[in-house]
């Protein structure tokens, strides 16, 4: 498990934000929402060998707020919450199966969608989007996590 550099993560999140802005209008027609930037950040801190500093999560959240034109502070709060949750349960995750990890991440993504919609889309808050996104994200993460079984690894174990 490797720690990813700050600059690298900033660039990845920037690209993910652009990708998200392209995909979201298409997926929303099927009531699906995938918070790619949030998931990439969550995955980075999950994979990190060390505990993530609260300021690190906060500043990355502010950065995402700034580039994604969402209200300033929204992603900062959610990224800080996610970092706290991942750090608190980092050892517990080792006892989990990959299915449980996938469910944790899809649950977190759903929480993120619901929470952010409370601020940016309260007038049209939709439980249907939350429910379909939860199911879709769970299956998507399961498929992504299962891919490693079907592709050869270059790592020497």
């Amino acid at each position: 498990m490797n720690n990813i550099g700050y600059i690298k993560l900033l660039v990845i999140i920037f690209i993910a934000n652009i990708l998200e802005s392209f995909l979201a209008p298409i997926l929303i027609k099927a009531y699906i929402n995938i918070p790619i930037t949030f998931l990439i950040f969550s995955f980075a801190i999950y994979k990190s060998r060390f505990n993530t500093n609260a300021l690190y999560a906060f500043l990355f959240g502010l950065y995402v707020d700034f580039i994604s034109s969402s209200p300033i502070g929204l992603n900062a709060a959610l990224f800080s919450m996610m970092a706290y949750a991942v750090n608190s349960y980092s050892n517990t995750f080792k006892l989990f199966s990959f299915i449980q990890i996938c469910m944790f991440f899809s649950g977190s993504a759903t929480f993120y969608i619901g929470f952010s919609h409370l601020f940016i889309n309260l007038e049209n808050f939709s439980y249907l989007i939350l429910f379909i996104s939860l199911i879709f994200n769970t299956f998507l993460f399961l498929i992504i996590s299962m891919l490693r079984f079907y592709f050869p690894s270059l790592k020497i174990k």
Binding site: A24, P25, N51, A54, L55, I72, S90, H117, E123, N124
Partner: protein, 277 residues
Amino acid sequence: MSRVAPTSGSKALYFLCITLSAFLLYLDINYKSFERAKNLYKSFTISSSYTIKRITLDPLNYIFEISKEKSKLIEENKKLKQELDNSYIANFILSRDSKFFIDDEAIKKFLDLNKINKPFHLAKINSFDVEKYLCCSQHRMFIKIFNSKDINFIGSTVINDQGILGQIIYDKSIAEILLLTDVSHVMPIISNNHFCNARGSGKPGVITCNYSKLIWPDPIEIGQEFFSSGMGGIYPSNILIGYVSSINATDDNNIHFDIDLVANPLKSSFIGVLEKL
């Protein structure tokens, strides 16, 4: 190597960060404290993408076009498209808003200033967040207005060939449009003798109205036409806004209905900006 659970010190730091985030969120939502920085960033990204496109893609396009014998035809086609958009907007104003031209002095002044016989400025859409338009409550559009050197367009009406799109709320190098469907937008509209303050619904192409049967006893019907009232001083009057698409009774006396707008902001990349009334 195992990771250590957060200590009480780091927990306090997390709590502090979340509290600070909540405070920033409160400031942004209630007082728009960071609007200037956001607009600066948007202007920068739009300008830089435009510049990058000009430096990288445009020369390639140019080479590609001059390599073809029909390059002149392509240019002419582009000009004709722009002229067509121009005439659509002019026709819209002339055909649907004759009352707008009652003030002869204003028309003369406009004609003298612009040396053209169309009381609007052509603008091109620079950036439109379709993601936000389709999913969220905030419906904004960024445009570049042509020939707008000394004119302040804040509060000006924005139209396309179908009808009214919204109004300009920020005008620097790039102008920002508040669309009719944005939840923070309110527009006075009228149908026969019936008046209503229509709010943006946050859904694409839909605005909503509430009224009480005690004040407005006449029934409302599906398909009923609503026009701009001209009250508020932003929009010209008697322009078709849309048709009633659904009606819901919230209780015995109060009715809530949706209006499907006739103007679709995704229709054309060229729009018109009227000078302020």
